[in-house]
């Protein structure tokens, strides 16, 4: 098992390296001149040259890349053009609200998605299954931001149960989480259903029935346990969707996390902030997938003992 984890770790490092190359190239592929952007449009050419020299932008590209990685490893993500603040500091300030929102969204997905998945699998090809499956399909098709606005209109504006957006306590968290939960839960429902239906066809489920186990014992001890394995794998992929979703949810609900940081940065073409957030998100996705891989090896003894 350790070899498996180490191997995952090794490939994660390679992927992280690739990510740094990609973000680096994107920064330098930009047509606008960073030095000019910092200096401002009216600054004389000599000032721009000085800044360019200070930033090391006159050095050859590979060397610049090495400097870039070196700075990254020291937690230096560059300086915002617009606010003239270290990007790392700006992100750290926004990290908590985003983490809170992401957790809320994820829990909402699981709380809605998993029970419905089990329900539809156990009632496959019956009315309840058809209704839930139709709703799930609509859920998948809903644009997050639109649903968010509708919920705001109904549950915050027309019937003021929840606040009209903003960041605060639990009351503020419910609508955004519910919005994400409705659109994301369907993936879990559908995946768990198809996974359970497949497991139900397995020989070992027949063995369990042949032992005289009852339906709920068969479902929970034998079917769900095995059916969760692909669901755990999906959680890794879902994390990347979640971070995408968070950007949209933050924009919709005026939530002051790093999604809205990225959003304003893009409006201002504040390249270091854009790349800083993108880089951080990619790193988070890789690390989260690593955790999922390890978790996976714990759940599935076929990997644990090999």
């Amino acid at each position: 098992m350790y070899a498996y984890i180490l191997r995952r770790l090794f490939s994660a490092v390679i992927v992280l390296f690739g990510i740094s190359v990609v973000t680096f190239l994107l920064i330098y592929a930009i047509p606008a001149d960073p030095a000019r952007m910092i200096a401002g449009p009216k600054a004389p050419e000599s000032v721009v040259l000085t800044i360019r020299h200070q930033l090391g932008l006159d050095q050859p590209l590979p060397l610049q890349y090495i400097h870039y990685v070196w700075r990254l490893l020291h937690g230096d993500l560059g300086t915002s053009y617009t606010y003239n603040l270290p990007v790392a500091t700006m992100i750290v300030q926004r990290l908590w609200p985003t983490a809170e929102l992401a957790l809320g969204c994820w829990l909402a997905e699981l709380i809605i998605g998993i029970p419905l998945g089990i329900y539809t699998a156990r009632h496959a090809r019956r009315l309840g299954d058809y209704i839930v499956s139709a709703l799930a399909l609509i859920g998948i098709s809903l644009p997050l931001f639109w649903l968010g606005l509708l919920l705001l209109y109904w549950l915050a504006y027309q019937v003021p149960i929840f606040p009209l957006g903003g960041f605060g306590g639990l009351r503020y968290l419910i609508l955004p989480s519910l919005t994400y939960g409705i659109t994301g839960a369907a993936y879990y429902t559908r995946l768990l259903k198809s996974s359970m239906l497949e497991v139900m066809q397995q020989d070992y489920v027949r063995t369990a029935r042949a032992k005289g186990a009852g339906e709920s014992r068969v479902t929970f001890r034998h079917v769900v346990r095995n059916a969760l394995i692909p669901v755990v794998t999906f959680a890794g992929i879902d994390f990347s969707y979640l971070l995408t979703g968070v950007v949209l949810v933050e924009a919709t609900f005026n939530w002051n996390g790093f999604g809205s940081l990225a959003y304003t940065a893009i409006q201002n073409l504040d390249v270091p902030v854009i790349m800083g957030t993108v880089l951080l998100v990619a790193v988070a996705v890789v690390l989260f997938n690593l955790i999922v891989d390890i978790l996976y090896s714990v759940i599935d003894p076929r990997i644990r003992y090999s």
Binding site: A3, L6, R7, F10
Partner: protein, 323 residues
């Protein structure tokens, strides 16, 4: 008649076992571990053994569908292991393979006509489409199927019919050697014998040479001239078919024969029930690979692999009991 078509010398196929962070090779699965034999023109050599004995790997290594690790495979005196890719592809016309699973061995997207024309297209045989279709019809009739089946798709056929199609595909390039890898194992009892009879007829008519790989001893006995017994990638015994059953010399062969259930409730036989599991070919026992389960093993069996010897005329055995 006594002309060698195929000569295999010290054929080996080791699959690397990779472990650890960098997937270093930490050992080898010795799937085929030094096999040598000769097949005469028009002969059927049966190859038997249990799972992990390397019989399928051996068949595919001879055809270079799996690249052998080492060894020589002389086909009509030419070592095909040395052939370059293009030469080998041309050489495939001479030697064909029939598979075990009639459901997996036919491309579900190809009609029967396409399936049978594919080899002709690859080797550029029979110029026009009409000639090829004509050949398809004759092939179908040759294997006992209706020529009108050409337009149908594999899923419309039963297992036995599919196996006939698989045989027709192998025949499409007029090969000299056909390796049959468990060709009747997946078929129903009543259909097995139809296919076995077909194979015998084709051999007689077309002068084919067969290597017949199977785990079912009675089937192998029925169709083979000589039989090679394998265990964990090594040769145990090689002799004419009837003699193998009348006078098995190797303790493994004896146990194998006695384990076969005979469809006769009055057959009172002395049963040799081997203890323990088949060892893994990734970690084969030292010396003679059979010593862990052998009822007559001696200390020397654990230390040295026995020599391959002609104990009786044309009866080869690898066992210390006959040293």
């Amino acid at each position: 008649m006594a002309e060698a078509l195929l000569q295999v010398e010290d054929l080996k196929k080791y699959f690397p076992i990779r472990r650890g962070v960098f997937q270093r090779t930490v050992g080898h699965v010795r799937a085929v571990d030094g096999i040598s034999f000769t097949v005469q023109k028009g002969e059927t050599l049966g190859v038997v053994g249990e799972s992990g004995c390397g019989k399928s790997t051996m068949g595919r290594s001879i055809l270079r569908l799996i690249e052998p690790t080492s060894g020589v495979v002389n086909f009509e005196g030419r070592n095909i292991v040395r052939l370059r890719k293009g030469q080998m592809q041309a050489m495939r016309r001479q030697m064909q393979l029939v598979f075990q699973d009639p459901y997996a061995s036919l491309n579900p997207r190809f009609s029967i006509a396409q399936t049978l024309m594919e080899p002709m297209i690859i080797h550029n045989l029979y110029g026009s489409r009409e000639e090829r279709l004509d050949r398809v019809r004759r092939l179908l009739e040759r294997v006992g199927l209706d020529a009108d089946y050409a337009r149908r798709y594999p899923h419309e056929f039963s297992g036995g019919q599919r196996q006939r199609i698989g045989i027709a595909r192998a025949l499409a390039v007029d090969p000299k050697l056909i390796i049959l890898d468990e060709p009747v194992a997946a078929l129903d009892v009543s259909v097995q014998s139809q296919v076995l009879n077909l194979l015998e007829d084709l051999q007689e008519e077309l002068g084919l040479t067969y290597i017949f790989i199977a785990h079912d001893l009675s089937v192998v006995r029925h169709i083979s001239d000589r039989i090679l017994v394998l265990y964990l990638g090594r040769m145990m015994e090689l002799v004419e078919a009837e003699e193998l059953f009348a006078d098995p010399l190797h303790p493994y062969t004896q146990a194998l024969l006695s384990a076969v259930p005979v469809p006769d409730p009055d057959a009172k036989r002395e049963r040799i029930i081997l203890q323990g599991d088949l060892p893994s070919p990734a970690n084969p026992p030292s010396g003679c690979p059979f010593h862990t389960r052998c009822p007559v093993a001696k200390p020397v069996c654990r230390e040295r692999a026995p020599q391959w010897k002609e104990i009786k005329p044309k009866h080869y055995v690898a066992c210390h009991a006959y040293a």
